[in-house]
Symmetry: C2
Subunit: 385 residues, 2 copies
DNA sequence: TTGAAAGCGCTAACAA
DNA sequence: TTGTTAGCGCTTTCAA
């Protein structure tokens, strides 16, 4: 009786937008809402007949479960935040466009395959945009290259939401896990490659910002120079400025101690250097060897084709998502994902790939090891837990 | 009494994860939960003192409102779906990478500025990935270049969720609104530019797929040829294949009726054509004029720099979001956004930009109108409906 | 095996 | 001006 009264009392008529709710389905199928829920979610121990019947009724009514209600009830939204650093008003920076795009693409696929979707969110900003962080229920978050004391990361972790970063976090940022390339090994291997190709003085085009990538790569360069007994020759420029790279490349080749090989840390540096070399009448690779870090395929068809270091952002994106979802599902599954000794987050170091092309192979002394592709040997995909 | 009993009876102790809920805040501030809600959302008519007090208590307790509960209650999630076409397993296609990235970047900014966040979702697929569509509460959706009878679009519209497409929808796809370039005017203007630069036979590198962009652009080319009394000279290739473009470019230049100018519809065609020209010993722009549709800045520094047609994806992304949010907020605001006469969706046509560089300016006869940038005159930003 | 009932945390209508 | 209450639509004990 109470039940019947309840059913009737309820304003069960129109739902939001007139769509069918679980109660309509239950009524139409002649079962309880519990049975509907179980049948649709594959739970409980219902006879197959009931399950099929409920499913067909639900389909006929065009029933779509409410994601909001499910999220409220279960505490899981199936949503993962993806934060991109904003420069000024815009997300992304020009110089890392291809990297971000590829990384995000792979992360999207990996998340989708495990039933999660990505929500694009801005890094902390002074605007009220910050509010969007509270307006969306996240099961976890991916942060790309977080700054040393990112307030968003700190806050999320404090709330118990797993955070995995692309890029080794600086400072003592309390991320759940991180994934990064072994930048030091990559730079070292690349410089060895240039030296083996005959370079005597290798220059560097680097950035003025203090992010981990720039810092580690530059340090690796300086260390290599010291070991090789070469004076460092480098120019730093604000990498977020789309024109500054060309100017810096020009400055580098204008120096009295002009390098005979240059490595550019950012994606457009290949064309920047090629243009600068042209202005100074330097032939590549005859007079100048050129390598840059890039994910762009245009360097396969430039004149000459340019050797690039690929950070394999696709692999990074995939790994980040796997680590994050493992943390999410492990955390809710009962056992803690890692008894992490306070200052030691789970992490994964991914290999880079040096794609050797004409620009780093001088014609006079053909390289003994003429492989088309050399994978940096020192950085196997290792999981340190 | 009833109230007091209720408060006590309730299992008010631990919340999910131990975080403070609205009730804890109310208790700590000595007010009711309604007051807390109103104070935090700027609603109601509370004295400023109360508002500040509640806010400070909430902050002290580290209170974060539950997005799921708010969504369930209000019916608005603040989430907008962004669908990317998937080719095989991967979202995005190589050839339109830069376009998508730039469009998504602008859309993200525009959405954030109005308090919405974007959720990346796959277009309909045979996988169970389709489920993610039901697992996230969307206020609206952006679809990029939908296929003629996209089941996702149809389903969303049936559910009353606004859908705005980037690209004029084919078939009778019932989108709420759409945004597109005037591809016909763009191609026509571009071909006029080449003809003015001295081209006598203009070739086309086009795609084999039947999407709107490829179809409209190719048709415009054929019409232009007919008007100009020129025989069409074109090669079509599967644009999603990253290598096929180079082959098609080669085929085009190998023809007996070799064109003296070529327009490539896809982003990598510039380097494809440059490489092919090199193989045939053709100088650009002396023997061959080259233009391609691209958003990539590398064409500013190739040798020679290549004239590109930009579709201005940033503007498109911004417009799409504005139209969508207008529809979302108009729809819930009471008055219908548009009494649309059935087959006439709101739409917006955006201008393209021809960025003229060396590759389309033959040295012998300097172009009379030597502007660096020519905006197609026929496509002002017009809002119909 | 199936169903009733209790909320998840919040907002908005209504009461006081 | 402030507080009480009724759900939003679902999942999940717990009882039948």
């Amino acid at each position: 009786m109470t039940a019947a009264k309840h059913q009737v009392t309820r304003k069960t008529g129109r739902r939001t937008g007139g769509r069918a709710g679980i109660r309509e389905v239950a009524a139409a199928a002649g079962v309880s809402i519990t049975t509907v829920s179980d049948a649709l979610n594959g739970k409980g121990r219902l006879p197959d007949a009931t399950r099929r019947h409920v499913r067909s009724v639900a389909e006929r009514l065009g029933y779509r479960p409410s994601a909001a209600a499910r999220t409220l009830r279960t505490g899981k939204s199936g949503l993962i935040g993806l934060t991109v650093t904003t420069y000024g008003e815009e997300p992304f920076t020009f110089t890392e466009f291809a990297y971000f795009a590829e990384m995000a693409r792979a992360a999207t696929s990996a998340a989708l395959a495990r039933g999660y979707a990505l929500v694009i969110l801005p890094a902390a900003s002074q605007h009220r945009e910050f509010d969007v962080w509270s307006n969306v229920a996240l099961d976890g978050t991916v942060v790309i290259d977080p700054s040393d004391h990112d307030p968003v990361v700190t806050e999320l972790v404090r709330q118990g939401i797993p955070v995995v970063s692309d890029g080794r976090p600086g400072g003592s940022l309390p991320v759940t896990a991180w994934v990064d390339n072994d930048h030091e090994a990559a730079v070292t291997g690349l410089l060895d490659h240039l030296a083996a190709a005959g370079a005597r003085r290798i220059g560097l085009l680097t950035g003025t910002s203090t992010d981990t990538y720039t810092r580690l790569s530059t340090t690796a360069y300086l260390n290599w120079c010291e070991r090789a007994g070469q004076n460092p020759v480098y120019e730093a420029y604000p990498a977020h400025d789309p024109c500054a790279g060309a100017v810096a490349a020009d400055r580098l080749l204008a120096r009295p101690d002009r390098p005979d090989a240059v490595y550019g840390l950012f994606d457009p540096n290949g064309t920047d250097l090629l243009a600068a070399a042209r202005r100074y009448g330097l032939r590549v690779p005859d007079d100048l060897l050129v390598v840059c870090c890039s994910e762009s395929s245009v360097y396969a068809t430039t004149e000459p084709p340019i050797t690039t270091l690929s950070l394999k952002p696709g692999r990074i994106g995939t790994s980040v998502i796997q680590l994050l979802i493992d943390a999410i599902e492990g955390a809710s599954g009962g056992r803690p994902p890692a008894p992490a000794p306070a200052a030691e987050a789970a992490h994964q170091v991914m290999p880079t790939e040096l794609i050797v092309r004409t620009s780093s192979q001088p014609p006079r002394r053909p390289a003994a090891s003429a492989r088309a592709t050399v994978t940096a040997p020192r950085t196997p995909p290792a999981i340190d837990q």
